[in-house]
Amino acid sequence: MVSMCAALVVTGATALTGCNKDDGAARVGSDGKPIYKIGFQGPLTGESSAIGVNMENGVKLAVKQANARGDLAFHVEYAASDDAGSPDQSPAAAQKLIDDESVVGLVGPAFSGAAKASGRLYSEAGLVSVSHASNPGLPELGFRSFVRSVPNDNAQGGAMVTYFTRQLKTKKVYVVDDKSEYGVGLSKVAEKQLKEAGVEVVKAGVPAKTPDYTAAATAVKHSGADALIYNGLYSDAAPFAKKLKDVGFDKPKIASDGTYDKKFTELAGDAAEGWLLTCQCLDANVDPGTKQFAEDYKTEYKAPPGLYSAESYDATNLIIEQIKALGGGDGGDVRREAVLEKVKKADYKGLTRQFSFKENGEFAGNGIYLSEVKGGRITLKGNVDTLVSAG
């Protein structure tokens, strides 16, 4: 009864207020140039804040440099919105950016769960979200403003499997994930493809922040598997690697992009030696193309760039490029819808790779890189496909 009343009230009130859509009125700076904002949504607090901060710093650096170059007819500003990496904070975080009408493009959401919880809102607002979330199912959910700036996990999981089956000829693989949405998604891909290749699979979930990895490592050792796949973040991969070394598991080990971070080698020390790492990303610290970026980043934040810092930097520049192309500051039509259209059709050469997108927002192109930890550093072995065909 009451809910019916509520419903009536609601209908009435919506009719009264109408809908106040943004009509692209950009704010203007003191020098008369318009101001456009690039938003970032990701975990700035909570468990995964380290990754969020990596990305945020990349975005901030790109914004800062874009303004500093002085060749733009507009100002770029940065707008942060923290979702703590969790879906429940995501709608509010997204809405905050959507409500700020000068935000015309977004880097993020960083995580798949958060992307799912806020995708409907961004789609409604027509605000393009250039996301690093790599869960394969995302483009199928029908978010029209979602584009992915990295190859999805099908590609990555596939690359791991290809390398194991074709290069190392493994018979039995132990697949471990951290029970996060990210890890589980990757493990599913890997399991499916391994089984298709006729390889025996043992699957296990070891929740992130497990206080002691010894038991899990012992289980790996007893399984008799001749290779291990770990899908999770470096912060959990490191103690796991230590315990694997302690129990004496010396078979090939491969880990996903969540582990691809210099901190993995710092945390795990000797135990990281010999681990293989796949990533859609290039290591900004070693790649020649990102050398300048890495130096700037270090000066700015007193720390080397981390996972996805460079990709976020690229994604930000991608959006700025499109604003420029739309004629931002020269009376061009820089509304969200226009930016969305432009980004979806973009073909942009960033520091890390070439960016272009399929119709459903999926990243077009491939390129999973394989690296190895050698002498305490992550060294690039090369593109998985080329490695396998060469071997």
Binding site: D212, A215, A219, D246
Partner: protein, 306 residues
């Protein structure tokens, strides 16, 4: 699971159990004297880990061995114990004593403790950075010897030995010293103890400090076995609290027993049901035990059994 496999989980299980025991004692001690759950004990543990981490990062050379290793470990133990003690002392002084003075109900303590816990771990995250840190290498973690064929490495041995030493030391302290009998007196009947001339404030404060030493050292040991981060207190804290309840909260030996039991249950759960059910196994055991023994395995009195 073959017998061979069964064997290999024993040492890790005992080591984890020893760690839980030491943390659980911190909960149980405070519960014994104040009848309140010191929810912020997990942050004492966390800060103990950070204390040792900071000092050791400053002093540890690249690849120490031999006597240097031993000294470094001792240094870590001392520093983490001191930091833990200091944190617990401050915690009592700021978050609990004012409440005690006005005779606040237990729930108020709980919320104050939760607030203190939030404050401390987020402050640590802010000050020291929010990504995990590894303890500097203090020794080469190789297998030392085998027990019935099961390998025992340095970290696990250190965990078990240090925990046992602390437990035995604490048991002696509580049973043999004047401070110990004062603690027991306060645990049994604070009013009567007060009338007999025991300075309750001082005893409560010292109880916190003792629990803090244990908690801080546990943080260091935990960090050695895995790594240090600002959120590292939460899970071991909850588990150790469960262990204290399992054994009978307020009961020292109960806390040790409960800790050991949960450590073994969690470890053996891995080959039996899979790692992802770790806490389900732990809590299922807890609920089952409490159904049949509503005050835990050994019952709930610090004064009586310790």
């Amino acid at each position: 699971m073959t017998l061979l496999e069964f064997r290999d989980y024993l040492v890790p299980g005992l080591a984890l159990g020893a760690l839980y025991s030491v943390i659980a004692i911190g909960y149980t001690l405070v519960y014994g004297v104040l009848k309140l759950i010191n929810f912020a004990h997990s942050e004492v543990f966390m800060l103990g880990g950070f204390g040792a981490l900071i000092v050791l990062t400053e002093v540890a050379p690249g690849h120490p061995s031999g006597l240097v290793s031993v000294l470094l470990v001792l240094l870590g133990l001392v520093v983490s114990g001191l930091v833990g003690a200091g944190t617990a002392f401050g915690l009592e002084k700021v978050a609990y004593r004012p409440l005690r003075k006005r005779n606040a109900p237990a729930l108020i303590f709980l919320i104050s403790a939760i607030g203190a816990s939030f404050f401390l771990y987020n402050l640590a995250g802010k000050l020291f950075g929010r990504d995990p840190k590894a303890m500097p290498a203090l020794f080469d973690n190789g297998v030392l010897f085998h027990v019935l064929g099961a390998p025992v490495d340095v970290v696990k041995l250190l965990l078990i030995v240090a925990a046992l030493a602390m437990i035995v030391g604490l048991d002696l302290l509580v049973r043999r010293t004047k401070l110990g009998s004062a603690i027991r007196a306060v645990a049994q009947d604070p009013e009567a103890a007060g009338l007999m001339g025991v300075d309750i404030d001082r005893i409560v404060s010292r109880t916190f400090v003792i629990g803090g030493v244990l908690g801080g050292i546990a943080g260091f040991l935990f960090g050695l076995n895995s790594q240090v981060s600002f959120t590292m207190g939460f899970i071991p804290g909850i588990t150790a609290f469960a262990a204290a309840v399992l054994g009978g909260i307020g009961n020292l030996r109960g806390a040790m027993l409960g800790g050991m039991l949960l450590g073994l249950v969690e470890t053996y759960n891995v080959p039996l049901f899979g790692e992802e059910w770790r806490y389900v196994a732990a809590f299922a055991v807890l609920v089952l035990v409490l159904m049949f023994r509503p005050t835990g395995i050994l019952g709930a009195k610090l004064g009586r059994t310790a």
